[in-house]
């Protein structure tokens, strides 16, 4: 990058507000998806919206790629500087600007840590509902970019359901304000378009979010099963009974082992093939009623233990275990890739069996910990990045797992985004015409493609050049039967 660009960036953000030091750039070569790495040419730390806009205008003037970054906890490579250029790090914009307790809204800057908002409004009896597992560290700006979810999105919806208004710097550097403080999406639903656009439409610099009142009563249950099938059936039966739990999470044996060995040890039974973490909230009377029904469903599906958290501390411990689970995998593996796919709930048992079969075929261990209530799977593929052969195999295994999920009528991503990780998988679901429609939408917001290039869309213009296409996933659907049957035979 030309030295004059660095100088001009420093004019905007101050001498300390930009770095092009090689060692410092190195830590910005990836987010929480470490499988792909590329250093930016420069990282800037703007202090306000105007500085963000000025940096974006400068990038346009010189034709340099640029992208926003929050806490770098994203799992699809959304904050990866794929073509170098400028990373606009928004961690300095970390203030809660205002809280309107009566109308239950808050205005925050994008660098505010998700959990810090809930902590800051706790004394008002309020909280911010979307709760990704990384909520102790991830930023709300990043949540908006990825339309982040979390265990409690089963009942309360994703980030998009909680964003009322945004101020954003458009790809050409103009500052726009979209949505409304009261949440009505007047005219086109531009907030809806921006949330989940993975940092390719605009850079959000201020967010008005909805806050919720803390429920009167919250109960958390842990149900342990001897077989994955039993636990999956329990999930389906809970939902079929018309219950909408606040959260319904699945933890398998491998994950349990890692969590129980960590500082977040939660007391998950080590002898369970799978455990379900079920939370219900609402008015006290209703909660107690629902609790009884859930215990009943679990027992009928052969749960050998159903435990109710007796105290707030015990409840917190159960959740800390779940939320620390991805990180705890470091105990059993040097590297890991967290996949994200959604399947119809009813297909859980067969898909989990298929994943297990694929894991064996590719000789790569897979752990499963996920949001079972909405069928949002997170197969964790464990590998050692120092072994090129393993890296090759995870790409193949990841693709095979995705084919299985899509084959049963699922989706590519529940909450982590497509990013770079799954862009070529887009062809499993969309054909060239579908993708062209999406490309046109991107063209409107990001006409020169300088904002976060190389994301979301397949690496080649046409799916026929990419390889796996819609037809292949239909083929995969047929193969699932084989996997399931094969697994059954192997066990017998």
């Amino acid at each position: 990058m030309k030295p004059e660009v660095i100088d001009k960036l420093r004019d905007i953000v101050g001498a300390d507000g930009a770095t092009d030091d090689a060692a410092e750039l190195l830590v910005y070569e990836c987010d929480a998806l470490t499988l792909f790495k590329n250093s930016p040419d420069v990282v800037v730390f703007p202090a306000d919206t105007e500085q963000v806009a000025a940096v974006v205008r400068l990038a346009n003037e010189y034709g340099i790629p640029f992208l926003p970054r929050g806490a770098g906890t994203g799992l699809s490579g959304g904050a990866l500087a794929l073509e170098g250029g400028i990373i606009i790090e928004l961690q300095q914009l970390n203030r809660i600007l205002s809280v309107d307790a009566e109308n239950r809204t808050a205005v925050v800057q994008p660098g505010v840590v998700n959990l810090h908002l809930s902590q800051a409004v706790a004394h008002l009896g309020l909280y911010y509902a979307p709760d990704p597992s990384s909520q102790v560290a991830c930023s709300i700006g990043g949540n908006v970019a990825e339309n982040a979810g979390g265990p409690h999105c089963l009942k309360y919806g994703m980030t998009t359901n909680h964003v009322l208004e945004v101020e954003a710097v458009a790809a050409d550097g103009t500052v726009v304000r979209l949505g409304s403080k009261t949440g009505e999406r007047i005219g086109y639903d531009m907030v809806g378009a921006l949330v989940g656009s993975e940092g390719t439409f605009a850079i959000v610099t201020e967010i008005t979010v909805r806050l919720l009142k803390k429920p009167q009563s919250v109960k958390t249950l842990l149900a342990a099963f001897r077989s994955v099938e039993d636990s999956s059936r329990a999930v389906s039966d809970v939902i079929a009974a018309g219950i909408v739990p606040a959260a319904l999470e699945f933890v398998d044996r491998r994950t349990t082992e890692a969590v129980e060995a960590s500082v977040y040890a939660a007391g998950y039974p080590l002898d369970a093939a799978a455990s379900l973490l079920i939370e219900i909230d609402g008015f006290e009377v209703a909660v107690e009623d629902t609790q009884a029904s859930i215990v009943d469903v679990c027992r009928r599906n052969n749960a050998f233990e159903v435990r109710l958290a007796r105290s707030e501390a015990e409840r917190a411990r159960l959740w800390m275990g779940r939320k620390g689970a991805f990180g705890a995998m470091g105990r059993i593996s040097p590297d890991m890739i967290t996949m994200d796919a959604v399947i119809p709930r009813t297909r859980l048992p067969e898909v989990l069996t298929a994943i297990e079969r694929l894991s064996e075929q590719h000789a790569m261990p897979v752990a499963n910990v996920f949001h079972a209530g909405d069928g949002n799977l997170h197969p964790l593929i464990l590998y050692d990045g120092r072994d090129a052969d393993q890296v090759e195999r995870i790409h193949a295994l990841g693709e095979a797992i995705m084919e299985v999920c899509v084959g049963v009528g699922g989706a590519l991503s529940g909450e982590h985004g497509i990013g770079v990780e799954k862009k070529d998988f887009m062809c499993m679901i969309f054909n060239d015409d579908d993708l062209a429609a999406m490309r046109r939408a991107k063209g409107v917001f990001n006409p020169d493609g300088l904002l976060n290039p190389g994301k979301v869309f397949p690496s080649r213009p046409s799916c026929s050049e990419v390889g796996p296409g819609v037809t292949r996933t239909a083929e995969a659907a047929r193969r699932i039967d084989e996997y399931v049957r094969g697994a059954g035979e192997a066990r017998a």
Binding site: G72, Y264, A363, M364, L382
Partner: protein
């Protein structure tokens, strides 16, 4: 099946192989909270260590800057689901940096020639006392002369502890419990503790005696080596460890009691420096944890009417996992209104000599803490480590708070 490639045993620094890059450590890190950049976060530093070992970056000036900007507070270890042993990795990395670049002469001199010799440390402390008592300090502060000729030293001068020099406990002596003893403990008397905070050592002995334990203070013990180890001077630290290990009895004592949590963490980790130190290290206990386990709350009968808060020393909370015992003891004192201060588990910015080497950042971290201490409207703030004690006392002066900051042993002594 474990995917890890099999190879020869890992080095200490290769703890980075446990890091999955999830980022859950980020907001636990004091420097990341203030600076908001990845290279001053635990994850960023781990990433840099790995990059260095893999030959992807040399040790550059900025590399060194970020490694030494870490407070070594280990809050990230408490946050890490993967169990990355960040503190020892950082000490190891700093050692490698010094191997390549050498330590600055002053640090090397002080660590190698002052701390290992109790009498030299006492001499330095005496000079400090002379400076204060001779009126020279008042003169320097009143005229602001130091600020004009050497602002850096003026800043350090402003932080010199106000505590009068106190005679501590006598090494080579055993302090007997009244009546028949329940057991015997050995006291690690420390360098700073026994010179600048002698009354805390005396209070510690009195409490242990009151709890029914004879207290032996082994002769010939020296500085624990923590400051040297944090600075990356591992050989210096190792020498001190060997000396102490030779002086402390392991058989016949119920515990080795420490009232400076930085030292306690170091003593407990001697096995990482010296072979065969496990028996000694397994006996190391912080005075608060030991007293709580010995049901000392029953002895706390004299009321202290005050609003009292507790600030966790990082090396007690994160390195030794002690957080409840001191709080339980404080709550047990009649008349005490115990207040949980927000952010009590966050570093105060003292971090050994960090407040001298990284003054600006240390002050920013301290200011955040003092704002929350102010909001708690305390009469007394209790902690358990000399560095934190001096830093928090300075913080109270800096923020004009009418607040007493004291060591837990000294505070509990008032209640018996």
């Amino acid at each position: 099946m474990s995917p890890a490639v099999q190879e020869e045993p890992r080095t200490t620094r290769q703890g980075y192989l446990d890091c999955i890059h999830c980022g859950l450590c980020l907001s636990s890190c004091p420097t990341y909270r203030v600076l908001g950049n990845e290279m001053d976060s635990p994850r960023g530093r781990v990433h840099l260590m790995r990059a260095y070992d893999e030959g992807r970056t040399p040790i550059t000036d900025t590399f060194v800057e970020h490694m030494f900007r870490c407070l070594d507070c280990r809050a990230c270890e408490t946050a890490c689901p993967s169990g990355v042993r960040f503190g020892t990795m950082m000490e190891d990395m700093r050692g490698a940096i010094l191997d390549e670049r050498g330590a600055d002469p002053l640090t090397r001199f002080v660590m190698n020639h002052v701390f290992p010799y109790p009498w030299r440390f006492h001499l330095a402390a005496r000079l400090l006392q002379f400076y204060r008592q001779s009126g020279l300090q008042s003169l320097v502060r009143a005229t602001g002369v130091l600020a004009r000729i050497a602002p850096g030293y003026a800043a350090a001068e402003a932080m010199t502890p106000e505590a009068p020099l106190q005679t501590g406990v006598q090494t080579g002596h055993t302090y007997r419990a009244a009546g028949r003893a329940r057991g015997t403990v050995a006291l690690f008397s420390g360098c700073v503790m026994n010179s600048l905070l002698g009354d805390v050592n005396r209070a510690t002995v009195a409490l242990l005696n009151r709890a029914g334990f004879d207290v032996a203070v082994p002769d010939g013990q020296v500085c624990c080596g923590a400051l040297a180890n944090h600075a990356g001077l591992r050989d210096t630290a190792r020498g001190m460890a060997r000396k102490n290990l030779g002086r402390f009895p392991v058989e016949g004592v119920d515990a080795v009691i420490v009232n400076a949590s930085g030292c306690g963490a170091m003593l407990a980790e001697y096995p990482l420096l010296v072979e065969g130190a496990e028996a000694f290290s397994s006996k190391v206990q912080d005075v608060s944890a030991f007293l709580a386990r010995a049901s000392f709350d029953d002895a706390l009968t004299r009321p202290v009417r005050a609003r009292v808060g507790y600030d966790d020393p990082c090396h007690l909370l994160h390195a030794q996992g002690v957080s409840r015992p001191p709080r339980d003891l404080l709550r047990a004192v009649p008349g005490v209104e115990f207040v949980e201060v927000a952010g009590a588990d966050e570093c105060c910015g003292s971090a050994g000599v960090y407040n001298l080497t990284h003054r600006e950042l240390s002050m920013e971290i301290l200011d955040r803490k003092m704002e929350r201490v102010r909001a708690a409207s305390l009469d007394i703030l209790v902690t358990g480590n000399p560095g934190c004690l001096f830093q928090l006392r300075y913080g109270a002066r800096r923020h004009g708070l009418d607040l007493e900051v004291t060591h837990i042993a000294e505070f509990l002594h008032r209640a018996v």
